[in-house]
């Protein structure tokens, strides 16, 4: 194989997690036109962050997570920093539980994600209330979390082969 081409493919493979995060952000901003769907659009980036934090934490540095979160905030019109904060907290939690979750059955991983997603919904709702200094009804946050949890198996059917193809960056 041409060394230049091989190098480009190698770089591309290290960029897979970041690419899926960008895709997740883009999917969050799409107007789906489904009745009542807008405020409860699944938190796609949360799925990607949790998955990569468990399976390839070395490939998603905190700076990249912060950037992705801020980008989603800027695209969707939310308070800049809010999604970044949630994603960083989820990343920290998932990495700390990596040893427990890795190697367990898929159901355990899914249950772990469900807990994290519901926790993120509660924290997100509290943040929204504090930010707006108003008591916002929590239902949209909870329904969004449930939809995100329901979507996890479908998302991992794409992320798992992506993780196999991807590989960690070579040490400098």
């Amino acid at each position: 194989m041409n060394p230049m081409f091989a190098r480009a493919v190698a770089i591309l493979r290290t960029m897979v997690p970041f690419g899926t995060l960008l895709l997740a952000v883009a999917l969050a901003g799409v107007p789906y036109g489904i009745p009542l769907f807008g405020p409860v659009t699944p938190f796609f980036a949360l799925i990607a962050i949790f998955y990569w934090s468990i399976h390839r934490p070395e490939q998603i540095p905190a700076v990249a997570i912060f950037g992705i979160g801020v980008l989603q905030d800027l695209i969707t019109g939310g308070p800049p920093g809010s999604i970044a904060l949630l994603l960083l907290l989820v990343h920290a939690l998932a990495v700390s539980q990596q040893r427990i979750l890795l190697g367990q059955s898929y159901l355990v991983e899914w249950a772990g994600f469900a807990l994290v997603a519901l926790g993120a919904a509660v924290v997100g709702w509290l943040l929204a209330c504090v930010y707006n200094t108003a008591l916002i009804l929590p239902w949209h946050f909870l329904v969004q979390a449930l939809l995100t949890v329901a979507l996890y198996p479908a998302a991992t059917t794409i992320l798992t082969p992506a993780a196999r193809w991807s590989r960690a960056p070579e040490p400098a």
Binding site: G33, G38, T76, P80, Y131
Partner: protein, 288 residues
């Protein structure tokens, strides 16, 4: 004796972990600081947001098209099932509208004559810029939409955004090629309105749900379910008389208004521009 490289290697791992934790803490702090800065409506945040949206808008535009095409297709299929009933309804509506048209023509002539008699100051002319919805708020935080038209098309911050059904919201950020609309249903939306029949003034507030609340002051017996709510024109931001919604319930003295616009089905919207008589429009291209 152990090699020095091995000792350094053993030290480097905890140091790297420590550095990663420190970076994480720093970024969590940066996120909070960013939220506080944004809360203060700092001009830099708005500038960055509009610049990013200008760059991302073409990408969102492309991604949004398949979703909207799919929606249109499903809408058309579902409408096929009701085409006969819909046709009957439209016929009846057409008859009713023709009657209203002749009334409107007569009133228009009368109105012009009375205005001339009174030497009334003419109402500001309204032109518009059309744009396609390319972005949603994608979650429960805010109720906004992104539009593929910006300042270069004549969109201005603060302008009213409408569809054929009624008021959608207002432009809160305007980049060069894209803009962001704050929907009526957003928690931060406040619109001066008037009850069409009684002419009582009020403020219409969003609360991140699908209904709107009338605040201020209308005596309870002066407002009824079914009353139409329209813009009052106070403040000069919106033209007067834009339809917004109907009162659908009155709970604990608060009137709940259901908007006429279906926010989840929006594809194209119009951004209104005031062009006062004698003033030259900023954008010679006018409507788009």
């Amino acid at each position: 004796m152990r090699p020095i490289g091995g000792r350094i290697g053993r030290l480097a791992v905890p140091l790297r972990v420590l550095a990663q934790r420190f970076a994480l803490l720093l970024l969590v702090g940066a996120s909070i600081a960013l939220m506080i800065t944004a809360k203060g409506e700092h001009w830099a945040v708005e500038r960055v947001r509009t610049a990013v949206m200008d760059v991302v808008a073409p990408v969102l535009d492309v991604i949004a098209r398949p979703a909207q095409a799919l929606n249109n297709a499903t809408e058309q299929v579902s409408q096929l099932a009701f085409v006969y009933r819909e046709n009957e309804r439209l016929r009846e509506e057409n008859d009713r509208l023709r009657a209203w048209q002749s009334t409107a023509r007569r009133l228009e002539t009368e109105n012009a004559a009375f205005r001339a008699l009174l030497r009334a100051r003419p109402e500001p002319g309204v032109t518009y810029v059309s744009g396609r919805v390319i972005g949603d708020s994608g979650g429960p935080w805010v109720r906004t939409l992104a539009l593929n038209a910006g300042e270069s098309d004549g969109v201005r911050k603060g302008s009213a955004v409408v569809t054929g059904d009624g008021l959608v919201g207002r432009v809160v950020e305007s980049g060069d090629r894209s803009s962001r609309i704050l929907l009526l249903t957003d928690l931060n939306s406040r619109v001066p309105v008037v009850v069409e029949s009684s002419r009582y003034r009020a403020i219409l507030e969003g609360d991140n749900t699908d209904t709107l609340k009338l605040s201020f002051v209308i005596p309870a017996d002066e407002i009824r379910v079914g009353d139409r709510i329209v813009t009052s024109g106070s403040g000069g931001l919106f033209p007067a008389g834009l339809p917004i919604g109907d009162v659908t319930a009155i709970k604990d003295g608060t009137a709940l208004v259901t908007p006429l616009v279906r926010f989840d089905r929006l594809e194209y919207v119009r951004v209104l521009r005031f062009d006062f008589p004698g003033m030259e429009a900023d954008n010679p291209r006018g409507g788009r």
